[in-house]
């Protein structure tokens, strides 16, 4: 890698200043600052190693970086730095580079000795910590190493912390608590560098589910953010309840998670809805959306995405699949825990919401056209009521209908079959495709639509195929026809 040696040098001063400022990171302020800089510091240490790799011995290194000893030494005493991700590796690599195999003078000899001491400080018994020697002797007499000891020790500490946090049932009457809010806060910030350490998962879970009864959030925002990051990047796995709790407590994390999902989906080619559904389900957002608060945030973000992309059909498809998965998750919920529909769609006409929420699979196919007529009629009444409808309301109503794409697909299908009176269906579809036209001209507009709707039709065909597959609808002939059409469109689009 082509290395610009001046770049690390500039940052060197910066990082040394930081290391001095942080000390051993004993104050909350310094701890928060360290946590903020951990990723960049790691990057810097990697770059430093790349530069030092070719340098032989400490004297040459000191010529290039006079203060390197100070920097590395100080960082070794900062447990936040050592505990983070791969920083400890990079730090130890740098130390190895500084070691001289043939020390030419007392300075180099001393430097060598100091490097060994630092490494012992990091890995076994530190000569600067008085209580470690005893333990080390005991352990090695038994035939174990510090690796065994610290493995057990960390697990025990986690176990103790979890027990302490859990034995804290919030009893409305008894405010006596064994754990103070500031302590929980302190624990949460100390966990930030350790999030990807597998031992920590039980503690992460317990912290996320911890409710101290105080209305204010007691977990550090840095902690919540870092857990969210690690979860989104799939570096850790957490139970659903813990993730839900995280998103409920920290809306920036929820927003980030939703945007991350959209990002992911936009980069997949929309060839298979299975893939889309899989990605969405993995994100845990549909399941989490059973909480109305989460649902509303996600919904807003999707709505904005739709507006920003001028109603791109990819985004519409994503929203529709999401809504389907959300409904499935909600259906699987325990009756007692279900929130009423009004909680998710507070501003909408409830009968319309209920009608749209009915899955087509719940109704016999013969009653579909009647159901669609109901929906169409309700919509018409809402939209044409000039007292109530503003442009915003219109958009909101249109968006609501859009979310429940299943019924629209069925409307289109029924229209293609031409077995029923088309008026209501036509009105519905016209509303879907161009909601802003004058009401009377809506039917006209649908028939004379000349704009390129191939993409929409393609999406429609995809959705129909998906639905047929998953609900076992449609006979062989229809399925065959559908697949043929899809193939034609794949070639064309």
């Amino acid at each position: 890698m082509a290395q610009d040696t001046t770049v690390p040098k500039l940052n060197f001063e910066y990082w040394l200043d930081k290391a001095v400022e942080w000390g051993q990171a004993t104050t909350l302020e310094s701890q928060k600052d360290v946590c903020l800089h951990l990723p960049q510091l790691q990057e810097f240490l990697h770059q430093l190693y790349e530069t030092l790799k070719d340098v032989q011995g400490s004297v040459a290194a000191i010529q290039q970086f006079p203060l390197i000893g100070q920097l590395l030494g100080r960082l070794c005493w900062n447990p936040f730095v050592i505990g983070y991700d791969e920083s400890q590796k990079a730090l130890m690599w740098c130390l190895c580079c500084l070691y001289s195999s043939e020390p030419q003078n007392p300075v180099e000899v001393k430097a060598n000795s100091w490097i060994c001491s630092l490494l012992c400080h990091l890995l076994s018994s530190s000569e600067w910590e008085s209580n470690e020697a005893e333990t080390n002797l005991f352990i090695s007499t038994l035939g174990y190493t510090s690796a065994d000891y610290y493995g057990h020790l960390v697990k025990n500490m986690i176990f103790s912390l979890v027990a302490e946090l859990r034995e804290n049932p919030f009893n409305g009457l008894n405010i006596q608590r064994s754990v103070s809010a500031s302590r929980v806060n302190a624990v949460s910030i100390c966990c930030v560098p350790l999030i990807t350490l597998p031992d920590l998962t039980p503690l992460l879970e317990t912290l996320l589910l911890y409710h101290g009864g105080s209305p204010k959030e007691i977990l550090c925002p840095e902690f919540l953010e870092a857990v969210n990051e690690a979860f989104l990047k799939k570096k850790i796995s957490l139970p659903d309840s813990a993730v839900c709790s995280l998103w409920l407590r920290h809306s920036p994390s929820l927003e980030k998670a939703t945007l991350h999902l959209l990002d992911q989906l936009v980069s997949i080619q929309l060839n298979s809805l299975e893939e889309v559904a899989c990605v969405i389900k993995d994100s845990l957002l549909p399941q989490a959306a059973s909480h109305p608060a989460i649902f509303r945030v996600v919904n807003e973000i999707f709505k904005n995405a739709l507006l920003e992309t001028d109603g791109a059909s990819e985004v519409m498809t994503i929203i529709q699949v999401f809504t389907q998965l959300f409904l499935e998750a909600r259906q699987n919920q325990n009756e007692q825990h279900k929130f009423p529909l009004k909680a998710y769609f507070p501003c909408h006409h409830q009968p319309l919401v209920r009608a749209l929420l009915r899955r087509p699979s719940e109704l016999p196919t013969t009653s579909w056209s009647q159901h669609l007529k109901n929906i169409s009629d309700m919509l018409k009444a809402l939209v044409e009521d000039t007292n109530v409808s503003s442009l915003t309301d219109l958009f909101e109503t249109w968006y609501l209908v859009t979310c429940f794409g299943e019924w629209l697909d069925i409307a289109a299908e029924q229209l293609l079959k031409a077995t029923v009176q088309p008026d209501a269906l036509l009105w519905l579809l016209a509303f879907y495709y161009c909601p802003q036209n004058e009401n009377q001209q809506r039917t006209q507009a649908m028939i004379t639509e000349t704009t390129d709707t191939s993409k929409e039709v393609y999406s429609l065909l995809l959705r129909t195929a998906y639905r047929f597959k998953h609900h076992g609808e449609g006979n062989q002939r229809t399925v065959k026809l559908l697949n043929e059409l899809l193939q034609k469109f794949t070639l064309k689009v």
């Binding site: 490494l119 012992c120 890995l123 076994s124 500490m157 912390l161 966990c191």
Partner: protein, 358 residues
């Protein structure tokens, strides 16, 4: 196999060497050879861990090779790269050239294609965990076992269980090395560790070995055997404690009443001896009418004061039903022997019984 046994017998010597000043003669190739040996031993461990008979044979051979000090078991073969690597890192007598080679092999990622030494990843995890231990350090919680002490107890139990599994009951050499090991810790620490170990055994923490993975005893037999083995180990620890009167007295003085009560609940030999001890201390108190309370007859002696004694007896009475009955019965008997007074200030046992029954 004979060749393997022969080589394995070299391990204790190799480890001893790596901790001694003799390494000052090592150069980089010598160090490489040592690390290769360590890798070889680890390989032997991985090959034979699932074969009990061979494993036992190797374990026995190892033990024969070490006349003194706690012998290494079969599991130590698996930890060889770390054992050796860290021992050499701590050894200041290692010359620079060899040390540099050690650091590169231990810590740097291996160049592609070359054979690896002990996994650098393992040591990075160690550094991370050590930092985690500092980050998560808790203030001492009363009543709970401190995590450090618990970790030490877990390692001790791991070692004892390994011995137990391999040798079975009745190995005369064991108490000797146990004493030696425990005496390397300062007394308060040693007592805390033994207490924690007994507590873990009492809770039936069967699966909490020291992670050496040698407890392949699967199925019912394995569990029964390990339960019986745990019983033997508990017996061993108790005999160390109870064997020496002064030691036991110091043990009971330095540990909190609640912990001792919980242990007494699990181990009847302990509860008997503990009650005897408390009885002894109690009988040394006399009533000072001027101060209106019970005081120690001789302030220098390492014994409990009235308040501490009362606390100890309360803890005992808050234990299991059996323990409570035992304690109250003992107190009642003492009270009767003392004259069966109903009024305070005449017999320490009357007073204690009154406090405890409140």
């Amino acid at each position: 196999m004979a060749a393997v046994l022969g080589r394995v017998a070299e391990l204790p010597a190799l480890l001893a060497l790596s901790r001694s000043a003799l390494v000052r003669h090592w150069d980089a190739p010598a160090l490489d050879r040592a690390l290769e040996w360590a890798r070889y031993f680890q390989h032997v461990h991985d090959r034979f861990r699932a074969r009990p008979q061979l494993r036992e044979a190797l374990g026995r051979r190892l033990r024969r090779a070490q006349p003194c000090s706690p012998p290494l078991g079969f599991s130590a073969l698996g930890r060889c790269p770390e054992l050796l690597g860290l021992a050499l890192l701590e050894n200041r007598a290692l010359p620079p050239a060899a040390c540099r080679r050690l650091l590169r092999r231990l810590l740097l990622p291996p160049p592609p294609g070359a054979g690896a030494g002990p996994e650098p990843r393992g040591l990075a995890l160690l550094a991370r965990r050590k930092a985690a231990a500092r980050l998560l350090a808790l203030p001492r919680r009363p009543g709970g076992t401190e995590p450090r002490v618990r970790a030490e107890a877990q390692l001790l139990l791991g070692r004892l269980r390994e011995e137990e599994a391999q040798e079975g009951a009745g190995a005369a050499g064991r108490p000797r090395w146990l004493c030696g090991v425990l005496e390397r810790l300062p007394p308060p620490r040693a007592f805390a560790v033994v207490a924690a170990a007994l507590a873990l055994l009492g809770q039936g923490s069967g699966a909490e070995g020291a992670g050496d993975g040698d407890r392949d005893g699967s199925g019912q037999d394995g569990n029964r055997a390990s339960a019986a083995g745990d019983g033997c180990i508990a017996g061993l620890l108790l005999s160390w404690l109870l064997g020496n009167r002064e030691r036991f007295s110091a043990f009971c003085l330095c540990l909190p009443g609640s912990l001792l009560a919980s242990l007494a609940g699990h181990y009847s030999q302990l509860s008997r001896s503990y009650l005897d001890l408390l009885t002894g201390w109690g009988s040394h108190l006399h009533y000072d009418p001027l101060q209106g309370r019970w005081v120690k007859s001789c302030l220098e002696k390492a014994e409990l004061s009235w308040e501490e004694l009362r606390e100890r007896f309360s803890c005992l009475c808050q234990g299991s039903a059996l323990l409570r009955e035992q304690t109250q019965a003992a107190l009642k008997l003492l009270k009767t022997r003392d004259g069966d007074f109903k009024v305070r200030g005449l017999s320490v046992w009357t007073d204690l019984l009154m406090e405890v029954e409140e």
